[in-house]
Every structure is written in structure tokens, then in C-alpha cells.
Symmetry: C2
Amino acid sequence: MELDRVDQEIIAMLVDDARRSYAEVGASVGLSASAVKRRVDRLRAGGAITGFTVRLDPAALGWAVEGYVELYCRNSTPPRTIHAAVDRFPEVVDASTVSGEADAVLRIVAADMRHFEQVLEQIGAQPFVARTKSVLVLSPLLRRPATPLPH
Amino acid sequence: MELDRVDQEIIAMLVDDARRSYAEVGASVGLSASAVKRRVDRLRAGGAITGFTVRLDPAALGWAVEGYVELYCRNSTPPRTIHAAVDRFPEVVDASTVSGEADAVLRIVAADMRHFEQVLEQIGAQPFVARTKSVLVLSPLLRRPATPLPH
DNA sequence: TCTGAAACCGTTCCCTC
DNA sequence: GAGGGAACGGTTTCAGA
């Protein structure tokens, strides 16, 4: 997917505020609203833009505890199995299989410590999970809304 | 911040597609467009909604390598120092101070392995960084757009 | 809290470059 | 192939009841 300078400016404006009108974006990048819409449609069709979403503050919604969890699985658990298991928990916000000793890393948000522990227990109780290792987030330093743009 | 059932339905619709019109959201939750807007304004003012953004596919934008990096710092490095250091790198998408042996965990996206290594080197070269330990993402399993809603 | 009206926006089509 | 502009129908926004 090829992005020119104008595409990058459009994306940067929408990263900052996805509800900006095409006219406003166009005024800023030197294009008409319809030209901007055509580019955004193309970026969506090409898969660069996968959607538009709202940014929420976990703390304001009552989610006070965050943590990273390393998953150590029994021999040769396929990624699909891990995905299926963690997908059922809305508290799992992010999950990837990784290199190194652990098989996967999860990011979990929970209402409180008790809740975090319950989720951890349920995930640890999955048959394919040998053990888990978790660290708690003390303070969130940086939470970028989206992937950086090509440079 | 108190959220009733309707607020949660509104947020759920906007998490799914932040560019939905207030009229469409209203039709779905049984409210007029202006009533929906008032609620969204209130949610923004209250800090529950911190903004609207676009979801991008890193791979489609040429970011092929992702990884988690644990930062081990020299004695009593304040969070501010870590923040200031990692904030300069657009490749750092997420950063938190954490409990456990490491002092902070970063998530980094990079164009390729070479690029990842360069960022890692530059971060490791910060005077307050004693060492780093990183794992590479093999496959992203789950990437939830936003915090879950209260249950 | 709702209604209505004016301003504004998304979308499409056609024309030009 | 890409952009501008106009037209229309829907949306946002705000005042007033």
C-alpha cells in the first residue's frame, strides 16, 4: 500500500480526531472534501485504515488495575487455541504470541486487584496453560492511539 | 463518572465505528440525535471518552516488526525521566512502569528487524538504562480497540 | 426534555486537468 | 487516474417552547 505525503497528513489529522469533517481535513491539506473522501475510501479499501474508534480512559470507567501476563503453554499449543481462550475475556485487551521463553504476552485491564486475580486464575486454569507470570502496571507513561506513520 | 445502560450502548457503537452519525446511534439506542450528542459531550467532559481516532494496520503501513521491551533502570529513575526518553521515539507505542524486576515495559513497532534493533540500541544507550530485555511478537492474536465497558 | 429550522456535512455524479 | 464543484438528502447544532 503506497501512501504519499497527503495521505499521511490526512491520516495524522484523523488519528488526532477521527470525527473531523472531510471539509476540515481538506482545508488543512489543500484538497476538496470529495477528494479527501476518495483518499480515505482508498485507504480503507487498501487496508491501511481498518476503522474508526473512540478512545476511552480506563480509570474513568472504573478499570483501576492493568498488567502484563506472560503465558507459558504446554508443548506446541497452536496460536488459534490461545486466541480462542483469551478472546472470551473482555479484560484481555491485547494478546500476541512471542519469541523467548514465554509463548504469549497478554495485556489485561481489570476493575481491581481481586478482579485481576480472578481473570488470571481463569486463564491459568486453561488446560493448555502450564503457568503464567504477571507484572502490574504502576503508572501508564505513554499510550499512543495508533501506529506511527511511515517516515 | 456514572454510566447508565444507554451510555454504555452509545460507547459500544462508537467503539465499533466512531464516525457513525448521532442519528444512527440514536436510532439504535432509542434516543434522538441531539440527546445522543448531549450524552457524548457529557462523556467527553467527564473524561470517560478522551477522543476519537482512526485504527491503522501496522503491517499495511510497512511496520513489520513488533516487540515488547523490558527496561531495567539504574537506581531510582523517576517515571518522568523514562517518559521523556521514550516519548521521542514514535516507534514506542505504549509504555508503563511496572512492578517486578524490570522498571518499565515498552511496546515498540518498527519497519524491520534492523530498525527495531536501532531503536533498541538508542533506548539502551540512555544514561539511566542499565539493560533491556526484549521479546519479538510472532503473531498478533488480539488487538482490542478500547477498554472494555463496566459490567 | 423535546421540536424545529438553519447551517453544515457526506455522498454521488459529472466535468476538467 | 485524480481533483473540483455542485446538488441532494441526511445530520448537527442551537434556540425556543
